[in-house]
Amino acid sequence: MSMAEEPLYPIAVLIDELKNDDIQLRLNSIRRLSTIARALGEERTRKELIPFLSENNDDDDEVLLAMAEELGVFIPYVGGVEHAHVLLPPLETLCTVEETCVRDKAVESLCRIGSQMRENDLVEWFIPLVKRLAAGEWFTARVSACGLFHIAYPSAPEMLKTELRSIYSQLCQDDMPMVRRSAASNLGKFAATVESAHLKADIMQIFEDLTQDDQDSVRLLAVEGCAALGKLLEPPDCVAHILPVIVNFSQDKSWRVRYMVANQLYELCEAVGPEPTRMDLVPAYVRLLRDNEAEVRIAAAGKVTKFCRILSPELAIQHILPCVKELSSDSSQHVRSALASVIMGMAPVLGKDATIEQLLPIFLSLLKDEFPDVRLNIISKLDQVNQVIGIDLLSQSLLPAIVELAEDRHWRVRLAIIEYIPLLASQLGVGFFDDKLGALCMQWMQDKVYSIRDAAANNLKRLAEEFGPEWAMQHIIPQVLEMVNNSHYLYRMTILRAISLLAPVMESEITCSKLLPVVINASKDRVPNIKFNVAKVLQSLIPIVDQSVVEKTIRPCLVELGEDPDVDVRYFANQALQSIDHVMMSS
C-alpha cells in the first residue's frame, strides 16, 4: 500500500481508475492504457494487465470500444511481435459483444495485429481463434469471424485452408441473416486471398448461394461483391460467372437490389471488357435508367458520366443519350437533380458536335427547371461545358437562369448562387460580368436576409481579388459607397462590413482616399451599433494603412468614440486604441 515514489502517483491513480464507478474516469484510464503498460513493464503487461482486461468484458460499450481500439496498437507494449498473440484473448471476447461498433473495432484491431504476426504464430493462435469464433454459440461471434478470414487464410497450411474455405461457406448459409450479411460483405476481401483454382470453384459457389438468398439485405451485399470478385477473375471467367448474375440482379424484384446494381455497374464494365459491356451491360444500364422506381433512376442518373467514359462516344450517343433526354424531364425532381449534377461531365466525352446538338438542349431545359437544386447543380459544373461549347452560346441561356435564381424566394437558393458568382465571373470574363451580373451583386447587398448580405459582401471581396483593384475601383467601390447613406442602419452596417473586407484587397492609397473617409464619417452615425462597428473596422484597418494615417485620422476618431455615451461603443473603441498601441510597440 505504500506509494513510495511520488512521480508514480498519477499512474497509480490511472490504474485504480480502471475500475472506477465513473465511466468517464474508466474511459480516461483505458485511453491511456499504453502509459499503464509502460509503467508495469512488458512482462507484467502480458501476465497481469492483458488477463485483467480479458475479464473486463461486461463494462459499458464506450469503454469496450476504447479498449478494442487501444489493443490494436498494443504490440510494442507486450514485448513486440513475438508476444503479439497475448493480445488475442481480450479481443476475442470483444468480438462477441452485442454492440456492433465494438465488434467491428475488435475485428479491425485483430486484423491489424494478425497482419503483423509471424506465420507460425498465426497458425498456432490466430487461426484457432477464427475457428472458435466461427463456431460461436451466439451469432455475434460468427458475425465477427467473417471479417478475419482474409488475415488467417494466407498463412494456413493446405489442410487448414480447405477447412477455412468450408467454414466460410457454412457461415454464408448460417441461420441468422446477420451472419450471412457479414459473410457477404467480407467475401471480396477473403476471395482476394484465395488461390485462383479455389476461387473459381469454392468461392464462386459461395457467391452464387448468396446471390440467391431470400433476404434482400443479403443479396444487396452480394451485389457489392460482384465488382470485387469481377476484378479478381480473368475476363472470360468474369463473363461466364459474374455477368449473368449482374444482369439478373439488374432485373431483381427488389428495387434496393437494382439500386445497388445501378451504383456498381460501371465498375464491372472494366472487369468484363468492351464486348460484353456492349452486349449485356449497356442494355442492363439502359433498363436501370428507365426503372420504375425513382430511387433506382436517381442512382443510375448519378453514374451516367462515369458510365459514358467507359463506352465509346458512338455507343454513348446511340444508347445512353436518349435515356438522358428522358431523364431530363423525369417526374421526380431528385432524378433531374442527380442528372444535373453529373451531366456536364458528358460534354468532353461526347465531343463538341454531339454536345451542341444533343446535350445543349438538355442543359438548357435543366437550367429552366422549376426545382432550384437542378438549376444550381448545372451552374456549379459550368466549367466543364464551357471548354466544349464556348461562352457565347452558353451565356445567352445562362443569364436568365442566374437572374431567376438570384431572386429566388428561398434565401438558401440565393445564397448558393452567390457562392458560385466568383467562379462564374472567372469563367465568363469581365465583359460579360459587367453587363449582366454587376447589378445583381449590388442588389444582394440590400437583401432582407442577413446571411445573404454577408455573403454578398464576401462576394465583392472575391470579385475584387479576381478582377483586380483597378476594376473594383470602377465597378464596385462607387456603388458600395453610394449605399452608405441608406436610411436603414442594417444596410449601412453591411457596407461597413464590405469595406472591412475590401480594404485588404485594395491598395492602401485607395483605402485611405476612398474608404477611410466613409468610415470616419460613419462614426458620427446616430445608431450605436454602427459606431461600434466603425471602431471594429478601424481596428482592422490599422495594419493595412500607413502609420501616419493611423495617428492623424484613425486615432482621433477612436478617441472620440471612446467617450461615447454607449458602453459598447466605448468598449470597442478602447479595444481598437489598444491594438494601435500594440502595433506601435512591436514596430
Binding site: P10, D58, M176, R256
Partner: protein, 510 residues
C-alpha cells in the same frame, strides 16, 4: 411458406379436440376490494421468440420481464435455442425477472401536447450473449432496451490507500472519483517526462475485482424519436434482424435498429386535405419470414399487403383483403365495428388473423376474395351497440393472437372473458374463458348464452334503457364494460396463454 399439406399433417395431433384450459399462474392478483391504480393497468404483452421470456408494459410506462423457469435445466446449446426447437414436456411456468421504467410522461412544448408514458407495444429483438433486447413504444417515442446481467463490482487491492491519500472514508471508488480528477492532467504531463524502467515499477498493482455477484441491469441503448406526428399504434421487427417499422395513424416508418436519427417513410395515407380523411392505419406487422412483405390494417376493415421490393414509397398495395358487409345489414355502426384493432401473421406466414369489434377473421394471403374463417367473439353484444357507442366502449382496441402451430386463435372480450377458437378444418372449438383462477367457470353459461339472449332481444333493449345502462343482460349476467381483456399473447411453441386483466397477468395452459 408452408403449404396446406404440412398443416393437414399436424392437424390430427391436437387440432380437432378442444383444449382443456387450466390455470397456471397469476402475477399482481388483486385482493377483493382493492382499488386498481391507473398506472398499473397492463397495456402490452409479448412473448419472445423462444417463449423463454415474457414482457408486459403498463400505463405507468414500466416494462416488467418474466422468465420461464421450467426449462432452465435444458438450456443447452445456444444454436439450438436460436433455432427454437427443443422438446418440453411440462407446461410453461414463469417467474418475475426484473422491471424498469421505460417511458416517462413528457410534454411537447411546440404542440402543447402531453405525451403519456403508457407503453403501447413491446417487441422482442434477437438476443445475444445472454443479453435480452426489446423495443418499447409509447405514443411518440420508441426505445431500444438491453437487459443484461452485470457483475456487482467490489474492487480491492488499489494502489492508493484511500484513507491516507484522501483523508476520509474507506470507500475507495467513490472517493477517488470525486477528488482525483486533477491528477489526470498531471498523469498526462508526467508520462512524457518519465523514463520507464524496462521491468516496470514493481510497486504498481492492478485492482482486483472480488465479488462475482450479478445484478440485472436494463439500459436504454437507443431512442427513436420525432418521427411520428400521430400516435404510434404498432412496431414490428423484420426477419432480417436489422430493421423494424413503426406505424401511426397515417404513416409507417422504416428504421434500422442501429440508426436512431433517421427513418424512411414507406407508407403515407395522409390526404393532401385532412378533410378528405376517411381511413386511418390501425395496426401493422412484418411478415415472419419474408423480409420484404408487411401488412397493415385500417379503420375501414381492410388489410393491405405491401411488397417493399416494388418501390421505395409503398403507397400502392400488392394485395387488399376486405369483406363487404351485405347492404341489407348496414347500420350506423357498420363502419365503426368494421375497424380492425389488431392483425397478426401466423407463424407459417401464410395466414393473417385480424380482430374487429365483433369478430376474429382469418385470412389466407393467397386468397383476397374474403376471409377463410370468421369467428363471432361476442355476438350477444350486437343489440347493445348503441350503449357501447354511448360509453365509447365500441372504440376499445382488442388484440388477437394465434397459437404457434396456427391451429387456434384467441382474443379478449368484456367481463375479463377471452375466447379461443379452433381454426383447423372442421374444428368447432369455441371456448369462453374467464381471466381468473377458475377459467372454465363461465363456460357452461356462455356457450348457451347467444341463442337465449338473441331470443329475448327486444327485452334486452328495453331493460337496458329502463335500467339506465346497468349492464345486465337478459340472463341477469352482469356485463362489465370496464373490465375488458384487451391484451393477450399465445406462447410461441406451446399451448399457453398470457392475458392481462386490468393490472393482473393471468397465465393458462392446456
Amino acid at each position: 411458406m408452408n403449404n396446406g399439406g404440412a398443416e393437414a399433417a399436424i392437424a390430427p395431433v391436437g387440432g380437432s379436440q378442444p383444449l382443456e384450459w387450466k390455470f397456471s399462474q397469476v402475477f399482481g392478483e388483486r385482493t377483493a376490494g382493492e382499488e386498481v391504480q391507473e398506472v398499473d393497468i397492463i397495456s402490452a404483452i409479448e412473448f419472445d421468440r423462444s417463449g423463454d421470456h415474457l414482457a408486459t408494459g403498463d400505463r405507468g410506462g414500466r416494462v416488467v420481464l418474466f422468465e420461464r423457469t421450467d426449462t432452465r435445466d435444458h438450456v443447452g446449446h445456444r444454436r439450438d435455442l436460436e433455432r427454437m426447437d427443443y422438446p418440453i414436456n411440462r407446461h410453461p411456468e414463469f417467474r418475475y425477472k426484473t422491471e424498469f421504467q421505460s417511458h416517462e410522461p413528457e410534454f411537447d412544448y411546440l404542440k402543447s401536447l402531453e405525451i403519456e408514458e403508457k407503453i403501447n407495444k413491446i417487441r422482442w429483438c434477437q438476443s445475444a450473449n445472454g443479453a435480452l433486447f426489446l423495443l418499447s413504444t409509447n405514443d411518440k417515442t420508441i426505445k431500444f432496451w438491453k437487459v443484461q446481467e452485470k457483475k456487482v463490482k467490489k474492487v480491492c487491492d488499489m494502489n492508493m490507500d484511500s484513507t491516507k491519500a484522501m483523508g476520509n472514508g474507506p470507500i475507495v471508488g467513490s472517493n477517488i472519483s470525486t477528488s482525483s480528477k486533477q491528477y489526470i492532467a498531471n498523469g498526462g504531463c508526467t508520462s512524457n517526462e518519465f523514463s520507464f524502467p524496462t521491468g516496470g515499477f514493481s510497486s504498481l498493482q492492478l485492482p482486483v475485482v472480488t465479488s462475482h455477484e450479478t445484478n440485472l441491469m436494463a439500459r436504454c441503448r437507443r431512442i427513436y424519436a420525432h418521427a411520428h406526428d400521430y400516435h404510434i399504434n404498432s412496431i414490428s421487427n423484420n426477419s432480417d434482424g436489422e430493421t423494424f417499422i413503426s406505424a401511426d395513424d397515417l404513416r409507417i416508418n422504416l428504421w434500422n435498429l442501429e440508426i436512431s436519427n433517421q427513418s424512411f417513410n414507406i407508407v403515407d395515407v395522409k390526404p393532401a386535405n385532412m378533410e378528405d380523411l376517411t381511413e386511418v392505419i390501425t395496426s401493422a406487422e412484418f411478415h415472419p419470414t419474408h423480409c420484404n412483405m408487411l401488412a397493415y390494417s385500417s379503420s375501414k376493415g381492410s388489410i393491405r399487403l405491401i411488397d417493399m421490393r416494388q418501390s421505395a414509397l409503398c403507397d400502392t398495395h400488392s394485395k387488399l383483403f376486405e369483406e363487404q358487409e351485405a347492404p341489407s345489414s348496414r347500420s350506423f355502426f357498420t363502419e365503426i365495428i368494421a375497424s380492425i384493432s389488431d392483425i397478426k401473421f401466423a407463424k407459417d406466414g401464410r395466414h393473417i388473423l385480424s380482430r374487429d369489434y365483433m369478430t376474429l377473421k382469418l385470412w389466407d394471403i393467397n386468397m383476397d376474395s374474403g376471409p377463410v374463417a370468421t369467428f363471432q367473439v361476442h355476438e350477444y353484444l350486437r343489440p347493445k351497440l348503441c350503449d357501447l357507442y354511448e360509453n365509447d366502449s365500441i372504440f376499445d382496441k382488442f388484440e388477437c393472437c394465434l397459437s404457434g402451430d396456427g391451429l387456434r386463435v384467441a382474443t379478449g372480450s368484456y367481463s375479463n372473458l377471452f375466447r379461443v377458437f379452433g381454426c383447423s378444418e372442421g374444428s368447432t372449438e369455441a371456448t369462453t374463458l374467464e381471466a381468473s383462477k377458475n377459467p372454465m367457470r363461465r363456460q357452461s353459461q356462455t356457450s348457451s348464452r347467444p341463442s337465449r339472449s338473441l331470443g329475448s332481444l327486444s327485452g334486452v333493449v328495453r331493460r337496458v334503457k329502463g335500467a339506465d345502462n346497468s349492464g345486465v343482460d337478459a340472463n341477469g349476467n352482469a356485463f362489465d364494460f370496464t373490465t375488458k381483456l384487451l391484451h393477450l399473447a399465445w406462447h410461441p411453441t406451446e399451448n399457453s396463454l398470457a392475458c392481462a386483466a386490468s393490472n393482473s397477468l393471468y397465465m393458462y395452459y392446456a
